[in-house]
Symmetry: C2
Subunit: 424 residues, 2 copies
């Protein structure tokens, strides 16, 4: 097959992660190796940047900036939560994207994101084919939630897992030191529907007396009376209790536990914005168990902890980005690069490909037997699965002030060639 | 002077820190070098362990465990929040302590803690002198709040400063990436009366567009209207706003801002337990500025972040512990070891001594000109003061599972020789 000549564009979508910039780096560095890819561009704030024709030239960035992406968290090109509706409802947005692509001779589109982004990428791929515009579209997996279908795990997860487990260990020692007064602690993790992040916290427990003593995930219905009993049982044994819980835990009827505690809102995808689980559980412990309890909510800190990121995760994030480019140059389109674990001890992982639609329509939750019978801690299956993903540390740059040094794009924008778009 | 022969005991008090175990290590390793110190003991849970006669022998711990304290956060001997009342109100507690000391021939007492602990140590020192019991009492400074009098800074502060600044940088990049939707973020820090920790967050801002854009401390009265104006001004410039705020910020009448948001309780010292500042400010931003805002509350994670601790802080914590022993052996008593900065560029620090009473009765707050005129960010004076304290990283042990490895005492308790005590 003759190689498709043209520019490429990369975009980042959804919640930032510690290593999504490593994927961007993988795309950018690999793209420069292929003569058929003439220019390497990035969209500002994901697909919004394409719609707004806010596109900057990665070729104008210093190579050291590009290299520095591997030790820079969040999303250096900017991310977005803009969800394109269905093709029928919103054909104009998709057509606008193709119009912008055509105006800048963009023939390769690399989209790093979760299932909503894979859905967008798939529709673009279809529409381009229908319109006879040759475009290679590749998905690059990204989500801290680790809930994408078709891949063994998701870049971003290993680092948040390592951080949450480390925080559980460290704050767990605090509870251990102060058990005579501050007897319980709740650590809240992200995870709307899937409990992988909270489960990772469970890996901190190497010995039964280690924190966390209890782990709650959305996949197992939460029962308040059972919770009170669980906490009392742990207190009897260890005089202290450390709890790691997902923001999305629900009762058997699907009601969010965080709702008991208050504040709720919806994001622009229509997903509920959770965030009160630690406070809610703290109140339950203080009122129904009768001991002092503290709450910790790491929030957006957990998904950007580059200073102690997993090297395995960072390397794999780079690899899925680079692989997406290699595949696209070979002629692959409409696929997401996946991670395929070929061996666990020693850990070995290679890449594969999945149809964008299969990823878009899927969701991967915790299998029931990866949590214990009581539903309040992880089993060996879970530990064996997560442990290799946290291995190694990314070597970061630290300044004379003792703080990390991150890269930031200077952003040389392309001259606009299309009409103005200001829908969002 | 003839050297005082007998056993020594070390105890840890108050909120845990990343490096209080480094001080314990300094005491234990130095004590073994002096023949006059026959046994090296630790009290379980601070002064409570002395009152309860729960004392364990550090000589029975492996040397590798003792050495491992330098990379173990929290308080390995256990801490407490038990406050002894005045000598007049509670003479029996103090006498009990001396009785336990005498029963175990304890002649050296090293107490790592804040000003309440220095008060306890001072009273013990007085009572022992009155009763003719030869006892050397030395205070070892410890507090993340950095509010102790008579010392340039406090062990524990450099590490929490490094962590809060790093979290501000990292979560700041998240806000930068998602400014089109998640426009503001509030990071809440500890700090009841003194704003040093929140101020440390300010050091993350190397460039005006860096997070945090706004820093609020308890020393500057908080005005809600001014806050709303501040946020709007930042948003106009940078399209995003990252706020680092101390849990203890107050309005001009001394009302805690966290109180607006709800939940309050008092600890056993009669101090108010704060904790809703991030949520309160988030609500103000969403309601009065009208943009989406996220809240992060690191809670007890911030004071135990050994995985990215400041080497300067860890080394100084060790040094104040070791110096306390050297001084006590020389005959010093009733003093706390202080840190004395002799040069800032290059940073040089030595140790000094202060009367326990002067520390107990003092409190060190942020000088007004270390914050800017608007009271919403730090000045160069503050940055120059904090920066050297964050320098370097403690080298921790990491297991095959990618997670830190901490030390834990096996705790060989001494046989009890006194009557039972069960007041607390």
């Amino acid at each position: 097959m003759a190689k498709l000549k043209g520019n490429c564009i990369v975009a980042q979508s959804g919640g930032p992660t510690t290593v999504i910039n490593s994927s961007l780096c993988g795309v950018a560095q690999e793209a420069r190796k292929h003569a058929c890819i003439t220019g390497v561009y990035a969209a500002l704030n994901g697909i919004l940047g394409v719609l707004r024709e806010e596109i900057f030239d990665l070729g104008k960035e210093k190579p050291s900036t590009i290299a520095g992406l591997r030790r820079t968290p969040a999303a250096a090109a900017g991310s977005c939560r803009y969800k394109l509706r269905t093709l029928e409802d919103n054909r104009e947005d998709y057509e606008r994207i193709l119009q912008v692509f055509e105006a800048h001779d963009i023939r390769y589109f690399f989209y790093a994101g979760g299932n909503d982004s894979m859905d967008t990428a798939d529709k673009l791929s279809q529409l381009a084919a229908e319109g006879g515009y040759e475009l290679r579209v590749m998905g690059v997996p990204k989500t801290i939630d680790n809930d994408l279908a078709c891949t063994d795990h998701c870049p971003g997860f290993g680092s948040v897992a390592k951080f949450i487990a480390t925080m559980s260990m460290e704050a767990g020692r605090d509870t251990e030191a102060l058990y005579t007064t501050d007897t319980c602690t709740v650590l809240e993790t992200m995870g709307r529907n899937a409990g992988w992040i909270a489960a990772a916290g469970g890996c901190a427990q190497r010995d039964p007396e280690d924190a966390p003593h209890l782990v709650y995930v959305p996949e197992v219905p939460f029962d308040m009376n059972q919770f009170v009993t669980d906490v009392k049982t742990v207190l009897k044994k260890y005089k202290r209790c450390f709890i790691t819980a997902s923001e999305g835990i629900q009762d058997k009827d699907g009601n969010y536990i965080a709702e008991i505690g208050g504040g709720f809102a919806k994001d622009s995808f229509g997903h509920q914005q959770l965030g009160g689980v630690a406070e809610t559980l703290r109140e339950i412990v203080e009122n129904k168990v009768g001991v002092k309890c503290r709450s910790n909510k790491l929030g957006t800190c957990q998904r950007n902890a580059m200073h102690f990121a997993s090297k395995t995760d960072g390397d794999e994030a780079y690899r899925v980005g680079a692989t997406a480019v290699k595949e696209a140059v070979k002629g692959t389109t409409g696929k997401m690069v996946t991670l395929v674990r070929t061996s666990n001890k020693p850990y070995k992982c290679t890449t594969g490909l999945a149809d964008l639609m299969d990823v878009a329509n899927g969701e991967r939750k915790i299998p029931r037997d990866w949590m214990n019978k009581e539903g309040n801690h992880i089993t060996k299956k879970m530990r064996d699965y997560i442990t290799p993903l946290m291995a190694g540390e990314v070597k970061i740059a630290v300044g004379k002030d003792g703080l990390p040094v991150f890269a930031r794009f200077k952003k040389s924008f392309l001259k606009k060639k299309c009409s103005t778009w200001d829908k969002a």
